[in-house]
Symmetry: C2
Subunit: 255 residues, 2 copies
DNA sequence: CAAATCAGGGTTGTATGATAACACTACAAG
DNA sequence: CTTGTAGTGTTATCATACAACCCTGATTTG
């Protein structure tokens, strides 16, 4: 039986509902930056909950930087220029423009990460990548194990950059992209695709092992271009120029 | 009992202190994924606050995806593999390693953004950059107006990339960096610095206006290298190679 | 004996009321 | 006009109580 669990588990907490309700008011412009929110008491009665619940919702919105509050004055909608957390709305990712943008951003980070990884990788980094690639070979294309190994490989690359935030950002973006792809539901694949994908990963690994930054950059660029095509983003333009120089080197490093 | 208040009183709310305290426990590994947190009552007594405050802190951490809780069972540290929001801890940014990493990440994005902006900018983008640069010239170095204009310029560049997430990520990172710099408190500057900084911005603008992607990349790289030096990060290594090729072109586009 | 049922304690979720700290306004005193 | 002060409204915090739920173990039932 095909279980279709609700993508967004509507929070069983009242505070979550209140928070997203207020959040929606802000997003849709009914509450503009600088506006004062109703008092906690008023919100409690209009939502039909206790003031305590309202406070938890407010605390959450405050931590997200959407509002700020001061004792004795009230709560106000914050300027949207300085969010303290970064979120990516799931719904807006359904639009292909947004998806393409996020994919492009991922590419920028991954390509540069590959280059840095080639320059800074240690032997244990190489081992992690090799292991992930091996696991990927043994798993059927598109399976859970396959996706896990794929993610593991890219995580190993980001780890080799010796930049903690690089990994944090890349996995965050990759996760959002993966969710969007799963939601779209085009998950059919062939053995050809598996072979090609593995080959691309091998090129990346070879370049990183050879400490060839240009080749690593090119190989990763190739991989992402291929991945974009496989996902249906055929019009994604490559960040100009860089791949050309390194393509030959990538081929050489491959074996 | 031993609630050590930090020198910078971040967030006058008790719930904020409790939240970051728990957050630190998780970050430093004393609470591992899957572990159960103490009960709300226990946390309340150990922190010396009411259970209400603890609940607001928990609500916040839950919204950040750091923990999850179930009625009747307890609260548990979440698996950090799939965060739903991206946060950057203020305290950990005080360590120079983390700061350097974040600065490097910013550089990767900004350099590529400059290149994309050069390829995709419209006339109104150029106008926005010009206006920001003009405002920067009129403001004293290091003043609030100056910082605002600086941010405005970079925001205009990111906007010219036609990639919504690019701007979102860049301003997010830039804000965190700005906060860390302000907290460090080295805010002395000379007229020389103002002149140099403005000159760097002019180079970027000229390259983008000329639609010269390589020059834009190089100019932005120069700017970031300079900014790193001004902030005390002299050992920041440039992402290899790219700046060399474009430097000449940047000089040519400058005037 | 095995399985279902039920009782009890423990934990989170929500409600309610009260008090303290703070901001703003208006008005009186000098 | 300036200053002090009382008053009102709001947020911040505390304290307590109850409801909903999970888990465990004993009890009952087949």
């Amino acid at each position: 039986m095909n279980l279709k669990l609700d993508k967004v588990n509507r929070g069983p907490h009242l505070s979550t509902l209140v928070a997203s309700s207020i959040s929606r008011e802000i997003a849709q412009g009914r509450l503009k930056p600088g506006d004062q929110l109703p008092t906690e008491q008023a919100l409690a009665t209009t939502f039909g909950v206790s003031r305590n619940v309202v406070r938890e919702a407010i605390a959450r919105l405050r931590s997200e930087g959407r509002i700020w509050s001061q004792q004795g004055r009230g709560a106000f909608v914050a300027d949207d220029s300085n969010p303290t957390v970064l979120t990516i709305d799931f719904e807006s990712l359904q639009q292909s423009d947004s998806f393409r943008s996020l994919f492009e951003l991922r590419g920028i980070l991954e390509v540069q990460a590959a280059s840095l990884a080639a320059a800074r990788r240690t032997d244990s980094d190489l081992k992690a990548m090799t292991d992930a690639l091996k696991a990927m070979r043994d798993a059927p294309y598109g399976s859970v194990a396959w996706l896990k190994s794929d993610l593991e490989f890219h995580r190993a690359v980001s780890k080799a950059t010796r930049n903690a935030y690089m990994g944090q950002f890349m996995t965050f973006i990759a996760e959002r992209i993966r969710e969007a792809i799963l939601a779209a539901g085009n998950r059919q694949g062939s053995d050809d695709m598996a072979r090609i994908t593995i080959g691309e990963h091998e090129s990346i690994l070879a370049a990183i092992r050879a400490s060839d930054t240009a080749a690593a950059r090119a190989a990763m660029q190739d991989h992402l271009t291929g991945a974009a095509k496989r996902v249906g983003l055929d019009t994604l333009e490559a960040p100009e120029g860089k791949a050309k120089a390194g393509r030959k080197a990538a081929g050489a490093a491959k074996r």
